[in-house]
Symmetry: C2
Subunit: 144 residues, 2 copies
DNA sequence: GTTAGTGCAAACCATTTGCAGAACG
DNA sequence: CGTTCTGCAAATGGTTTGCACTAAC
């Protein structure tokens, strides 16, 4: 298992300090490997560093996302989730009913992104996309 | 301008009633033609029907979305927006910095959706997608 | 008249803010 | 030591709930 401290030099290079709180937060994100909501991160990281508070979690996540260490994405009803940028080579497809998740490899979208960038002039489209659909199981449930 | 009352028969067919509140809400969505947040809808619809309250707006939007009269999508920091389903043949690309919006025609995504559906087994992917990127103007601002 | 829909008021929950004190480097 | 970061406590703002009343049909 990699140590969260490995990020220290990169953080410092950007004028950020490596604190116990940040270690705990990064650690949680490393261990789970997927995307987590601020509340989930707060609950998990507090086991490692009980003095952690919610405002710190929010401030840290925002800062780390701004500096591209984390990626922010939306799932379901407008909830924000975060994920380590280095883990990110995929997108998500989530079932509207049961919330089952499937990962979509980034190569699948590469061509589309290139198309969109050239036709709109926008760039960095889009680090992370979440699609919604009905998984095979829920399709049957609906007799559809 | 089309009258919101035209929806009455369709609503009734599903056991819903057409009230003044719902007329006002549908009316606002028709007039603006785009996607609006519950708060925006509340503010606008109240001009037409001042007795309207927020809980009613939320309940109505949720109900109409469930019955496929409206589409729900996420923009930016996890905010929910609604749009008339019949207006919907496009997706959105939003600038992360200035929130400028571009519409993406659905045909651009059609092929991708077909691919995803066959490779994952999921279906109804995805009624509405929102992409995020940097618009040409903001790219320059960043000297990037 | 029956059932769906609404208003009101309050609760809820995630997120944000200000500021004084703690801690990194 | 100076500057960044954190904790605390409180405010904020969007969204939801319960219940009695109103209105659609």
């Amino acid at each position: 298992m990699t140590c969260s401290l490995k990020y220290a030099p990169q953080l410092r290079a950007q004028g950020m300090r490596m604190t116990a709180q940040r270690v705990a937060i990064l650690h949680v994100l490393e261990q789970t490997g997927g995307h987590l909501s601020p509340t989930q991160i707060y609950d998990l990281a507090r086991k490692e560093y009980p003095k952690l508070t919610e405002p710190t979690v929010y401030r840290t996540l925002e800062e780390l996302a701004e500096r591209k260490f984390l990626l922010a994405a939306h799932v379901g009803n407008g909830k924000m989730v975060y994920e380590l940028a280095e883990n990110h080579n995929h997108h998500h497809l989530i079932c509207r009913e049961c919330h089952a998740e499937v990962q979509i490899d980034h190569t699948t979208l590469k061509k589309l992104f290139a198309e969109l960038e050239s036709s709109t002039g926008y760039r960095f489209i889009d680090i992370h996309v979440t699609f919604f659909g009905l998984c095979p199981f829920c399709q049957n449930q609906k007799g559809d």
